[in-house]
């Protein structure tokens, strides 16, 4: 089942064309990595996909409810000393457009479930600034997953994290993709750290330069 369809997409950023003539489809359960140099349009494409950037022209069709899309941004630690606990931050993930602004029993159950799944129960009452980089990233992932998305969009989620934490983080994503069938679209620079072989690679350079399996991509790179 096709979950995302992008057709002839063109988007500008700060007056410059960031992406143009971008067309591809994503099937349910796919794990797609967007690669490309800085400024190649990866982040712009993802931001356009989640509605943070406006498109100049072209089409984006999401064949799922908007509430089933979740996003983990690149620099989500801009205000590192913000006085908020991990729990307060994770719970915001259940907020939806047509939902009352209160947390109900199901929300609290979803919170318990996601904390167990990501092994972060011990840190939920800590202030975000007290956590390590890896723990903070798990908290952000928990916030993205608590709404039980069908499509998870991540923009360089491991930038600034060390190799061990990065590998652990990608293992979690791989597990979510394989066991829960979560569709993942992720902009990344460290494709080598991802151990899964089911990855589809889309290389961006304003236009789509490559679209295929990770094995073919590796061969081409060599």
């Amino acid at each position: 089942m096709e979950i995302v369809r992008i057709k002839d997409l063109r988007t500008s950023y700060n007056g410059h064309i960031a992406i143009k003539n971008v067309s591809f489809n994503i099937e349910k359960g796919e794990y797609v990595c967007l690669v490309g140099e800085n400024g190649s349009g990866k982040s712009t494409l993802l931001k356009t996909l989640v509605g943070l950037n406006k498109k100049d022209n072209g089409e984006i069709i999401l064949n799922i409810e908007p509430d089933k899309v979740s996003y983990l941004a690149q620099n989500n630690m801009t205000e590192i000393n913000f006085p908020a606990t991990a729990k307060e931050i994770i719970m915001t993930g259940v907020q939806k457009h047509k939902k009352l602004p209160f947390y109900n029993k199901e929300d609290h159950e979803a919170f318990e479930e996601i904390c167990n799944e990501l092994s972060i129960k011990s840190i939920i009452n800590k202030q975000i600034s007290e956590l390590s980089g890896g723990q903070r990233q798990r908290v952000m992932l928990a916030r993205a997953l608590i709404r039980k998305p069908e499509l998870l969009i991540l923009d360089e989620p491991c930038s600034g994290l060390d190799s061990i934490i990065t590998k652990e983080f990608y293992k979690i994503l791989d597990k979510l993709n394989k066991e829960k069938g979560l569709t993942i679209i992720m902009a990344t620079h460290d494709l080598n750290e991802i151990e899964s072989e089911n990855i589809r690679v889309i290389c961006m350079a304003t236009v789509v330069k490559f679209d295929g399996n990770v094995i073919e991509w590796n061969k081409q790179e060599k």
Binding site: V50, G51, L52, P66, D67, V69, S70, Y71, A73, N76, E79, F82, P83, A84, T85, E88, I89, M91, T92, G93, Q95, K96, H97, P101, F102, Y103, K126, Q127, E130, R143, R147
Partner: protein
Amino acid sequence: MSNLEMFIDLLKYPFMQRAIICGIAISFCAALIGVILVLKRYSMIGHGLGEVAFASLSLALVLGMPEMYIAIPIVIIASFIILIISQKQGESGDITIALVSAGALAFGVIITAITNGFNIDVYNYMFGSILTMKTSYVIISVGLSIILVIIYLIFYNRLFMITYDEKYAKVCGINVTFYQFLIALFTAIVVVIGMRMMGTMLISSLIVFPAVIARRLTHSFKEMSVMSIIISIICFLFGLIISSILNLPTGASIVMVYIAVLLFSIIWTKILK
């Protein structure tokens, strides 16, 4: 009769009772909105709106109209304008606040100069005169405070979300613009109802200080909100007592109490570290 006995004696009088009721209500609201403004780095909005409030009061005095009728719409509109332009300017949004506040102050000064000059009414609004508040002002202030607190509690989770991560809220389909306008409206009303107490020159301190102090002492948004309210009300009461005993302006006395508590909180957190 000692100074403290004199203050206790003053409590019998309706003007002092009005001041305490109104002061607590306004301190409560200012503390809540202050948490959001400080965390969103919009601290100077209160100062800018204070100047706008001064200009609108000068206008109200010239027109001979009740100050609230003029000040509330003007300050709300100014608050929306500051918010919209600040967002378009991004990080240099403080330029808008500086321009609006300077323009409003200049307008207020000119209006005042060409009409009655700086009489006691203008002075009271600039530097606060909580003891001269009329019953009608107290009723409006307390009524608006109750409405604001109810709205804040209803939208607490959303306001936290917007304050922490506006972009994520947008992705989640939350109407961020609505909440931004709610924050702007909230701020404008606090400035208007607080100006008689603190004065238009010092109103921003009522919004900023409790949140800044509370931030140093707490670890979560909820704790910060509660602590900010407690600090705001205690500092108001101490400021009122000091101003009554020493016969000083109430607004300035409250600010001095804030500064003392802030210094104490800095020392306290250094010792704990």
